[in-house]
Symmetry: C2
Subunit: 465 residues, 2 copies
């Protein structure tokens, strides 16, 4: 029998997170205000607890995971590593395809890895409730689940159109005891203003962020904090258990190192979680091709510049040094809602600047074709985001066949698609299309977004490569 799975025991869950910031050849540029000043920890303290703010700025290479948090993570970790033997056979490839399956968490994706951590650190800090926004619903679900685990209240502002189109997501959050309200809402000043201006608005992630941040800041007791599911350094950090586990499991499979590591990238947390431990190996000499995959129509890494930009559409966050399409850029209505973000995590962006990563973009229809081939060979139904990693894997496996090389490919299976089946239906009915965004439009969104903002260096000053 060919071995298809490489199960670790609870004691094999990594005890530390890996912080790529400590190993990047060029140090990360700092967060800034729109006028160019440095953002201090105190300025962040209104929305985040100090223990996470400190973690976000840490230069330590390894950071201990507290024991009680390990206990919580052990409810669904270690996550499976599997070999996709049926897909290999269907592709007639000499490549060996392994995937790290993060879909087995209660919330169905990798998101709880940081949601549990953030909920736990907030609980330690004395926070009583968390607010956040959610687009497609993955992050909001993960945070509600995690708040139930540690005993926090959770309020999620969900983009109204998603709220209406995906009723199951809302029920999921309520089952975990969270509150989910459509945004814009009448609960915040920002929400009321949006509603007055655009009574029929379908909402947007930008609006929802504004509401969630306001809801946290306006609680003068300081007991309400805000939580973000991607982009920030501490979020990337919390996800690195994915790649560390994968390494142990590849060793069980007799693999010394993968030749190719692939993950889909929206804000960057899924990709970073799998890839950063391998980026570390690459910095220290291993030959690995590491590929973040993004949608062709939201190509921050493959088409956009590295500079300072806001993390949200409304311009309420500090400026982040990153690859960005401009915070005014509105991605087409892709089904991969988690990959529609205009920017990219600073740590991932800087790793691209260093030449450590080889970003790839793929059109939506190719991704759905890959998802269906996956379902009919391997079985599971993948999330639309995950389909980007599968499509890239299929490209690389075919290349390996052409080259006649027995490469080892590892990709990140970020989540299941059981609450996203409407996208599959639209695909089967021929209702999906690929969006070609004209160069001109990209430029316009960029220029209007970045006007007056300071520029980031985006330089490679270190010694790597």
């Amino acid at each position: 029998m060919i071995e298809q799975k490489f199960p670790l025991r609870d004691e094999d869950i990594p005890r530390q997170w890996y912080n790529l910031a400590a190993d990047l050849p060029t140090p990360l540029e700092p967060l800034r205000t729109p006028t160019g000043e440095l953002v201090t920890p105190d300025m962040m303290a209104a929305i985040f607890p100090m223990n996470l703010i400190e973690q976000d700025a840490s230069q330590e290479r390894w950071i201990d995971i507290p024991e009680p948090l390990l206990e919580l993570l052990a409810s669904y970790r270690p996550a499976p590593l599997k070999r996709a033997v049926r897909l290999e056979k269907a592709l007639d490839t000499p490549a060996k395809i392994y995937y790290k399956d993060e879909s087995t968490s209660p919330a169905g994706s990798h998101k709880p890895n940081t949601a549990l951590a953030q909920a736990w650190y907030n609980k330690q800090f004395g926070t009583k409730r968390l607010t956040t926004e959610t687009g497609a619903g993955q992050w909001g679900s993960a945070l509600c689940y995690s708040c139930a685990q540690v005993g926090l209240e959770c309020k999620v502002f969900m983009v109204r159109i998603s709220y209406d189109q995906k009723p199951y997501r809302k029920i999921l959050m309520e089952t975990w005891g969270g509150t989910c309200i459509p945004s814009p809402s009448t609960e915040t000043e920002a929400g009321r203003r949006f509603l007055e201006q655009y009574p029929d608005t379908p909402g947007s992630l930008g609006m929802a962020i504004s509401e969630a941040v306001e809801a946290a800041v306006s609680d003068t007791s300081g007991e309400t904090k805000y939580s973000l599911g991607s982009v920030l350094n501490h979020v990337m950090l919390h996800q690195t258990i994915i790649g560390q586990e994968a390494k142990k499991q590849l060793a069980m499979a007799g693999v010394k190192k993968p030749d190719i590591v692939i993950g889909c990238a929206g804000g960057g947390s899924n990709f970073a979680g799998l890839a950063f431990p391998f980026v570390n190996d690459k910095i220290h000499g291993d030959e690995i091709t590491i590929i973040p995959v993004e949608p062709q129509s939201c190509p921050s890494l493959t088409k956009a510049p590295f500079t300072y930009d806001f993390g949200d559409t409304a311009g309420m966050t500090p400026l982040l040094p990153m690859h960005t399409l401009g915070h005014n850029f509105v991605a087409p209505p892709l089904h991969a809602g988690g990959l529609r973000y205009h920017g990219m995590a600073p740590l991932v962006s800087q790793a691209v600047v260093e030449g450590l990563l080889e970003p790839m973009s793929i059109p939506q229809l190719e991704c759905y074709a890959a998802a269906v081939q996956w379902a009919r060979t391997e079985g599971p139904i993948c999330a639309p985001e995950t389909s980007h990693a599968i499509a890239a894997t299929i490209r690389e496996a075919k290349k390996a066949r052409e080259e006649g090389r027995e490469k080892v490919i590892l990709f990140g299976y970020s989540g299941h698609g059981l609450l996203d089946l409407a996208g599959y239906d639209a695909y089967f009915k021929g209702r999906l299309e690929d969006y070609e965004i004209p160069e001109e439009e990209f430029r316009k969104a960029l220029l209007s977004s970045l006007e007056g903002l300071p520029k980031a260096e985006g330089k490679k000053t270190g010694k790597w490569g």
Copy 2:
């Protein structure tokens, strides 16, 4: 760190199925025709392949699982065994609660264990396509997935009201390449007759079975067969890998034997899969309380007699010796669609007759309360069927607390509820109720169902207990 999971490797998947028929103190009574004659294998050959018909009648205790089928099962097996430490804590119970998690299969339940086997044996036999019916959609999904794995066509007749209410289930089946049509349909004579008689009918499982069987039988090439997801002996057989794996995993956890084994029971396959290997131990002297749990409003094991009855509503199947509410009994619109069956597998029924099992029935609202407590402690969202096992577990864990005894409880987590969230919503909105069915109504359905049919003995003739 408390160990919460007990992972087996691929090589630990059981190599044989366990056949309880070989160990039952009293032999199973045979299948009969409505006039009382014995049903011969030849009579079954129009709808099932001979290899499965033989398996169904086998008296062998252990039956080898073919190697290629093991490879298929290894795509998601061994299934996890976990300890519910957070639920234990919430209940403040000295009991140790373990659960066997069958929700991690691609179709989200235990159903693929037999769907893969049936698809594989049909493929070996030369079958080109399978037909089946589905109510809530779990079984139809599992068979479509399995047919994609071995290369068979699959057509599923889905009860119209479910087809309309659960569009995601249909998309799931289509993603795996299956065809799903609402029943009654115009594709069969039976369907056309139903539609003529009742143009606005919401459909029923009975009608859908009639259509699926007709669609198989009417293909005169013999290349189309019918497949059933529960009740029959060979289905119980295929599921026994669940309990066998659980035993190995309990041993890893340092548990010699569980004190209590619990599984929800509709047609009986989930319950049998987990419980039969432990029933074997009980026959051979172990002290174990083994509890099949059914809905209070569909109580075949706790309220209905053991006798001969049809397996379907329309009276097209052979007569089965079983606990039955009567094939004319229509269960209330419970959300646990998989537990709305009027009968119970003959093997499970006979084990009840022998006194080997201690059936329990639980009302719907208690089950949903248990499901929500589960989600907020352990995390995952369970299927409405599974919530019955959780509710029974909570009852037993509380009893252990009252008795101050450190009992070991093992229950079957038959599937996830991610495509059943509407039931949770109805529960939160106070729209669910418990159905008390008057004694009179039970009796009426029974009498009208069993009129003129031969009686089964329902006797315990063996030596056990």
